[in-house]
Symmetry: C2
Subunit: 334 residues, 2 copies
């Protein structure tokens, strides 16, 4: 028998927790018997939802009375102390008792507590929040999505290296194509920081990634590159703008498809196709942002996702460990 992977799970974060966390674990467990769970949170509440669905050898519950909530500030959440489910879950990877930590709770607090507890990977200056973004051919890795409002050239270069390692761990061992998000595709566009980063990335010669130059916002979903690098301010606004645009369009489409009897009939005929459309774009499919740069991986599941989305984040966790993300990053550092 191969050694099980151990996930440290903060069960108390996000909407409808711990129910959705436990339901997500149950769903994931069906096809993933090689993962052991350390579940941090209110034992009574967790056990109530667990209903003996999982083999007792697959998990343990570490009872915690205190928890970080969404209304806490990042620092406020950290200051709640070392007995919150979030802190203890992170401490579990720090102490090498778990391989990876996941939470659907307060992003800012998760970031601060992770930085307080975990070491940076040598030669990386700042950890980045990276996410998966669907494109025509599959998924991009995009980073930073908001952890670092101000970034230096060195930070952006680190993000290119780390993002490439993440892409390789998650999707394929082929050399990822990396692009820098900018306001134009010509070399002279953008501010000095972007231009200098472009120059430095162009000069890097290795097998870890292929630098493809600048990418504009309207090309993110074209599927021509695999890793898109930007500072946390721009990345956060781009991600949320895309989210808002998609929500707006889908709401308009729903209205169109139900606003009279012809629309209703046609939607009924087209049910399975429309379902495919919906499924393909289901945000639960790419749920899970990953803090990279620390010496253990930290995964943030969306606070408002349901148990299916949470279960998909657990898939991301497993791929990260199986794909040996941290060592891939260490090997890539220049």
């Amino acid at each position: 028998m191969t050694k099980k992977i151990t996930f440290a799970v903060d069960a108390m974060g996000g909407e409808d927790s711990p129910k959705k966390i436990v339901d997500g674990i149950k769903l994931f467990n069906k096809n993933n018997k090689d993962v052991y769970f350390k579940i941090f949170g209110n034992k009574n509440s967790i056990e109530k939802h667990l209903n003996n669905f999982i083999d007792k050898n697959s998990f343990e519950i570490i009872n915690t009375e205190n928890q970080v909530v969404d209304t806490d500030s990042a620092l406020g959440g950290a200051k709640k102390g070392k007995d919150t489910s979030m802190w203890l879950a992170i401490e579990s990877v720090k102490n090498k008792e778990s391989d990876i930590v996941i939470s659907a709770g307060n992003t800012g607090a998760l970031f601060v507590i992770s930085k307080l507890n975990l070491k940076m990977i040598e030669n990386i200056d700042k950890p980045a929040l990276s996410g998966l973004w669907p494109n025509k051919n599959g998924m991009n890795v995009v980073l930073d999505l908001g952890a670092n409002i101000d970034c230096s050239e060195k930070n952006l270069i680190d993000f290119a290296l780390m993002g490439s390692s993440l892409f390789k761990s998650l999707f394929s061992n082929e050399t990822p194509k990396v692009a820098l998000l900018n306001v134009g595709s010509e070399e002279i566009k953008g501010n000095d920081k972007i231009k200098n980063t472009y120059k430095k990335l162009s000069e890097i010669r290795n097998n870890n990634f292929e630098f493809k130059g600048y990418i504009e916002g309207n090309k993110i979903m074209d599927g021509d590159v695999n890793v898109i690098v930007t500072d946390g301010f721009t990345g956060n606004i781009a991600l949320k703008t895309a989210e808002g645009t998609a929500n707006f369009l889908i709401k308009e489409l729903k209205n169109t498809l139900s606003n009279n009897i012809f629309a209703k009939i046609s939607s009924a005929i087209n049910f399975s196709n429309l379902k495919k459309f919906k499924n393909k774009l289901d945000p639960r499919l790419y749920n899970g942002a990953i803090f990279i740069g620390l010496d253990s991986p930290v995964v943030k599941s969306h606070g408002s996702t349901d148990y299916i989305g949470f279960s998909n984040s657990l898939n991301v966790c497993k791929k990260i460990i199986k794909g040996d993300l941290i060592n891939k990053i260490k090997e890539n550092i220049i």
Copy 2:
């Protein structure tokens, strides 16, 4: 008879010009007999498309042999000299022979030539490229969309003032609600520049706009505010990301609605509803970016739009003049 408004039109810019420019003018002219056109470009080519469709008292053609093309750099386009259709059209507003200038040509060159020829409005440091962005209730004005990669606090405050004047000229005389694009809605989010701008905008007491604080990317289309202020780097990336997301979704939807016989039948039944959906989101409806901050208005129609889109930009031009944009800006300056 009231005095006609005069538009200076660069007929040689954008795809399929001058045909689409002339067709756009013809369409617009049907319901707008109070506008006189000074059309700058190749006289033979323009006359060929004009086909005597417009009353001879409604236009004149100023023959030009030289033109700025899309592959020119911004500066390169300007350096082509004072005999391009773009330069001469701009010179026409400079000399007060026209009220407003419009081009579907090279954006960078249009910006540079406008700045070379036209004066800044007093106390405005930088002109901004502002655009219309659809939302749940109508349209937002968003600026800057890429003219100014680096912006100071003063610039952002100017954008708030000018954007409010633009919104009033175009849509309504009610006090516009202004928001600052940021990575979070709490006062402490963002970088120092954003936070200082927030503070200063909060302290402005006037009737020109109501400051509503920060707005996140996913709220741009919610329709809760009217004017969204950001620097040109972020604004350009947000706009293009929204465009890319919309294109991606609509392409996926098209595939869904035609990928088998059931989909085709249902789409046929739903034809008029789907058409409404498409029409409502037609980018030609909000075609036309406006440079504001110069002492004459300069309108940029999208290079790839067709004659209907161009005609809609002519509507924007008329609203700007009827709404007395430049004087509204001057009155708003603090």
